[in-house]
Symmetry: C2
Subunit: 167 residues, 2 copies
Amino acid sequence: MSIQLLVAEMKKLLGSLDACLDKAVAHAQAKKFDADTLLQARLAPDMLPLVRQIQFACDQAKYAAARGAGKDVPSHPDEEKTIAECKARIAKVVTYLETFTAADFADIETRTVSLPRWEGKSMRAIDYVIEHAMPNFFFHVTTAYALLRHNGVDIGKRDFLGKLSMQ
Amino acid sequence: MSIQLLVAEMKKLLGSLDACLDKAVAHAQAKKFDADTLLQARLAPDMLPLVRQIQFACDQAKYAAARGAGKDVPSHPDEEKTIAECKARIAKVVTYLETFTAADFADIETRTVSLPRWEGKSMRAIDYVIEHAMPNFFFHVTTAYALLRHNGVDIGKRDFLGKLSMQ
């Protein structure tokens, strides 16, 4: 199996997140409140608000692809203030993920990844994706979903999983 | 890469969930409330309570390994009423996941999986794991984490990710 399948799954779930944000906007319009206030919602006072959960989900998908393939990571500053801007950030990452092919990950089991804060330590690129970027991605995308659900947005598990490759 | 790495990651995160439940019990003792009341906590009235999130996380990890390998899925009835029983359920699944090796997933890209509710449709076993069991697993394990966090349990991202394979 190629890590490309995991990247494709992350891309799909970013699409799910984008669609959930559309439903959040519709919910806010029906209830007559400003949808962008949702971006500051938190599940606990010391947890990150929705806008940061979205930014982190975007970043972890980008990190998985770029570092899994040994490429430089494109910079996306955390400047989003509105749901429209969050959707643009998601679209940018989805477009970026689409540039990867299975061949980009050919040496993922032998190459290593190291980050400045790891103080000289490293991980195999495959372990970095499986143990770090991927669970982080799911953590933030699920927490974003939970925040919307907790705030009354009408979404369900199917909105999260998206369309399955059924035959 | 073998799907075995994903199964190992799920096994690790079930261990994280188990450790988060220990912290939930310690939190309840410090605050002098019955820890098992947390099992009925929900993030929204029409979302599943913590006990079901734990059961679903256990099941999805089990499904990923068993169906990914083309084996029968062991039955674990949803009868847990206490955190101690949830921890026993987690331990049972962790022990089950430990029986798998990379060789069990050798034909995952050619074999198919079909469930009764899919009405005759099927998925490649690899697609089932990547698009269905794995995101479902992360969805429920993250929601369990979010429920504990939302209820004041002192856990952080490191408790979720667990130990990384650093060199």
